[in-house]
């Protein structure tokens, strides 16, 4: 087993607890909406995007086809940026390998890989290992939640729904490069709050992420 892959598993296994809790909640909500077990499995395996799946369940049976599709697109628009940022890591791989790897990209394994102090090949291995850890856990947990229905205790009581925000905050700290990050990070925070205040879905994250990265990239260009 390659060192980067092994490291990815070690880094991502503890996060599986949060993924399992989140998947369990998703399954319970799907049970409350009467969504069949087979549909839950189909969604978790092929959509494999927690936030989008919550939106699908929320709108299930109440909204039309295009409304659901549009909401999923807006929530997942961030993947354009996330996957653009990993293109360098996947260069040199065949098309099927790249297609498999992008399907396995989630917010969590992407964050862990990008924050890891290693080369591009190592980051690519961590990204892939994380996806291979999270997909079966997410699938199993969502099915368990769907089958258990209301019998499992609320993970919110134990703060498990806060696992990912806490992890992201910690990883942001590890990506701090110095005082030159202050201005772009203020731009990110302000734009995220501003867009969130008048729009739903994932637009705040996308706009804030794009604004901060754009500001940073362009200001570096001006200095050099």
């Amino acid at each position: 087993m390659r060192e980067g892959f092994r490291r990815g598993i070690v880094l991502c296994l503890p996060i599986c607890v949060g993924v399992a809790a989140y998947g369990g909640v998703f399954g319970v909500l799907a049970a409350a909406k009467g969504i069949p077990v087979s549909f839950v499995a189909l969604m978790s395996a092929f959509v494999f995007s927690g936030s989008a799946q919550f939106v699908i369940v929320d709108m299930w049976g109440e909204a039309g086809f295009w409304a659901i599709l549009g909401s999923v697109a807006s929530i997942n628009m961030r993947y354009l940026l996330i996957c653009a940022s990993v293109d360098r890591l996947l260069s040199g791989m065949s098309l099927p390998q790249r297609m498999l790897r992008v399907h396995l990209i989630g917010d969590e394994n992407w964050a862990v890989a990008m924050a890891a102090r290693t080369d591009d090949a190592g980051k690519a291995d961590i990204l892939f290992a994380g996806g291979l850890c999270f997909l079966p856990v997410w699938l199993a947990a969502s099915l368990a939640g769907r089958l258990a229905g209301g019998w499992i205790p609320s993970p919110e009581r134990f703060g498990l729904d806060f696992a990912f925000p806490a992890l992201f905050a910690a990883l942001v700290v590890s990506l701090w490069r110095g005082r030159e990050d202050i201005a772009p990070w203020i731009v990110t925070a302000c734009v995220t709050v501003a867009v969130d205040s008048f729009s739903g879905g994932g637009w705040g994250v996308l706009a804030g992420g794009l604004a901060g990265a754009g500001f940073r990239g362009l200001s570096e260009g001006v200095r050099t």
Binding site: I15, G18, F39, L42, M43, F46, S49, A52, I56, G61, I68, L69, V72, A73, N76, R78, Y79, L80, I82, C83, A84, S85, V86, D87, R98, M99, V102, H103, D107, M114, A115, F158, G159, L160, F162, A163, F164, P165, A166, F168, A169, A170, V172, S174, L175, P184, T188, V191, T192, D196, G204, A207, G209, A211, G212, A213, G214, G217, L218, G221
Partner: protein
């Protein structure tokens, strides 16, 4: 929703999600020659993770802010994202039990 409609919704949502993921790679390929675009892409991870964090504070409120502060403190002290995550979760769970 009928079985056919349900399958249609799920498969189309899966296709849209995959196209957005793969579209990111294509976007990077088509604009990758530009050094300015490369610098923007290099700044994406920190910027997106910060945006996620700020966005989630809207849902978690005061307990979320406390959890983030503690998680950041533990990250600075220990350098371990796992220790930081666990401490943030513990603070939110503790505050919720009193609120």
């Amino acid at each position: 929703m009928t079985t056919g409609e349900g399958i249609r919704v799920i498969l189309n949502c899966a296709a849209v999600t995959f196209l957005l993921r793969f579209g990111g790679l294509c976007l990077a390929r088509s604009l990758g020659g530009s050094s300015r675009f490369r610098r923007v892409l290099d700044a994406v991870p920190a910027s997106m993770m910060l945006a996620f964090t700020v966005h989630s504070l809207r849902d978690f409120g005061a307990s979320g802010i406390c959890g983030i502060v503690v998680a950041v403190f533990f990250m600075k002290k220990s350098g371990s994202p796992m220790a930081a995550m666990v401490s943030g979760v513990a603070v939110v769970a503790l505050l919720r039990s009193f609120m």
